[in-house]
């Protein structure tokens, strides 16, 4: 038995050794060792140049108790000239979770997502030179997060409160510059028979004069009634948030400082 195993191991090693070295040198090795990575780089990054970069911090619990509400925090503020942050999960039936464009805001965002099974959660951060900087972490979970109906879809309460927005800003202390925003939305994935996809699609945060601070493209895996944690940076004064879902419902709110 042991001998067979070691023979097998040898065979595998040999195979690896004769693989053209081009793979080993040109492609960075996935630190999370996911069998899905080669699909991810093709599908999510469209073959663009990328590096794995520990300056992209992805924070999520190693074991998530509730697959419907897995907290994810992305901090790419250690990188300069961030144009876009793409968050995805290798093993989710809907890979993309959200895209964040921190136009005039720090490259920082927190939210919660639905995970269908244990998976790497990644943030690919595109800088001005066109290179994706990829960070990530593994999340273990019991699963089922994407194929459970939303609470909203089983009650009529959300219909009255759809796109209701609650927020708060912190202007002093350790959380100074922070904005938290919750939007009532069922965020139905469309993966349950008879419940079509119905989700928040875009959120734009602007300053008082209407200049965009940050833009979000939101996909189905973001949790029901999304809560976003953002940083307004040095922008002062009131803010505005404008949002739209995939059915054309909108919201427009003013957020006092």
């Amino acid at each position: 038995m042991i001998k067979l195993a070691s023979t097998l191991a040898c065979a595998i090693l040999l195979t690896t050794a004769v693989t053209p070295p081009v793979l080993a040198t040109e492609r960075p090795t996935d630190p999370l060792d996911s069998p899905r990575w080669s699909d991810m780089e093709k599908g999510m990054l469209s073959g663009a140049p990328y590096v794995f970069d520990t300056r992209v911090r992805v924070d999520a619990p190693g074991t998530a108790e509730n697959p419907l509400n897995v907290p994810i925090t992305i901090d790419a503020t250690a990188l300069a000239d961030v144009k876009e942050i793409l968050v995805f999960a290798d093993f989710n039936p809907i890979l993309e979770i959200l895209r964040f464009y921190p136009d005039a805001a720090p490259a920082y965002i927190g939210f919660r997502a639905k995970l269908q099974q244990s998976t790497p959660v990644r943030a690919a951060v595109r800088t001005g030179d066109g290179v994706w900087h990829v960070g990530g972490t593994l999340v273990n979970t019991v699963g089922g997060g994407c194929t459970a109906p939303s609470m909203g879809s089983t009650s009529s309460e959300w219909q009255k409160r759809l796109n209701e927005v609650t927020t708060r800003t912190w202007n002093e202390g350790p959380m100074s510059g922070r904005l938290r925003m919750r939007i009532i939305h069922p965020m139905d994935t469309g993966l349950i028979a008879g419940i079509p996809p119905f989700h928040l699609e875009s959120v734009v945060l602007s300053d008082e004069a209407g200049h965009p601070l940050a833009r979000l493209e939101v996909s189905q895996p973001v949790s029901e009634n999304p809560v976003f944690t953002l940083s307004r940076g040095s922008t002062t004064g009131a803010l505005q948030a404008h949002g739209r879902d995939n059915n054309g419902n909108t919201f427009n709110v003013r957020i006092p400082q």
Binding site: I72, N163, T167, R168, W170, V253
Partner: protein, 312 residues
């Protein structure tokens, strides 16, 4: 080769079966005719087979009242065998205190006896019981083999109840779940509090309403005084001869509630709240870190909602 493999697999599985077959349930005498089986103060694991819960039984003149049936069919069967070693009397009534899996998945072993619970508990078991059982299979493995859902068939109500020749008072409460039953045995002045009371073991909160739970603990405290309760059996943790576990549970819930609200008010998100250290006093409490993290998952979204203001 194939033969060797199958022998190997057979050996491994019989070993696993041997390791996961005996809960070693020993009834702890609490008062005349009143016993409890005390579980480990731990999470569900393949080594403890889910025996992390306190169950009990009361021997009356005519029969036995069983309070909760443990996490699996095997637990229920071994519990019943342990009861039979104490008394030959029949099982008069089985009570499920609430709808969490470690309290009712042994029901199969008592299928020939009436099994009672509050109406809401019965509904919870019927709707969530299978999912709970699947989860316990995942967490504890082979111990669960043969376990299937057996829902209560009697609806219990608050008030006095004669069962097995014993006089009980049933208290219909809520807070740990939407329906929590506490059982008081008048003769021995023993109170089985179910999971409304934890003792030196971090409380679990998947269906908790902290406000209701704290009110309920106050009511239980008053009941202890009014009825001169001599023994208190918590759902998890060691039994007590006084009301200290009630205060202990209330203190944990008060701290948890305040801590989550403060966290939300300070602007922390869920990951930052998860990372907050436990107070010194709770660091050595069994599973305190794990239960705190689970409670953040269950309860932080509501605390967060309270901290935000309407914009439209």
């Amino acid at each position: 080769m194939r033969r060797l493999l199958s022998t190997l697999i057979a050996c491994l599985s019989c070993q696993a079966w041997a390791a996961g077959s005996d809960y070693q349930l020993t009834p702890l005498p609490i008062a005349e005719g009143v016993y409890s089986f005390i579980g480990e103060q731990a999470d569900f694991t393949p080594s403890n087979g889910g025996n992390i819960v306190n169950t009990g039984f009361i021997v009356g003149t005519e029969g036995v009242v069983v309070i909760d049936t443990g996490p699996s069919r095997r637990y229920g069967e071994q519990m019943r065998a342990a009861i039979a070693r104490i008394t030959p009397k029949p099982i008069a009534l089985v009570i499920n205190t609430h709808h969490h899996p470690d309290h009712f998945l042994g029901n199969q072993a008592f299928a020939d006896a009436p099994i009672g619970a509050l109406a809401e508990t019965g509904k919870g078991i019927a709707s969530e019981g299978d999912a709970f059982a699947e989860n316990l299979f995942r967490l504890t493995g082979d111990w669960m083999s043969g376990t299937e859902l057996k829902a209560p068939d009697q609806t219990l109500q608050a008030g006095p109840l004669k069962a097995g020749g014993r006089s009980l008072i049933l208290l219909a409460l809520k807070g740990h779940t939407d329906a929590d039953l506490a059982v008081f045995d008048e003769d021995s002045a023993t109170l089985f509090a179910g999971d409304l009371v934890f003792n030196l073991r971090a409380p679990t909160t998947p269906h908790a309403n902290l406000t209701h739970w704290k009110d309920t603990l106050q009511a239980l405290d008053a009941f202890m005084k009014d009825h001169r309760v001599r023994a208190l059996v918590p759902g998890h943790g060691p039994i007590a001869r006084d009301a200290r576990p009630i205060a202990w549970t209330r203190d944990w819930l008060t701290w948890l509630d305040r801590s989550l609200r403060e966290s939300a008010a300070e602007g922390l998100d869920m990951n930052e709240t998860l990372a907050r250290p436990l107070p010194e006093a709770y660091r050595d409490i069994p599973v305190s870190g794990a239960e705190y993290r689970r409670s953040v998952g269950h309860l932080f979204p509501a605390a967060e909602t309270h901290s935000l203001q309407h914009n439209n």
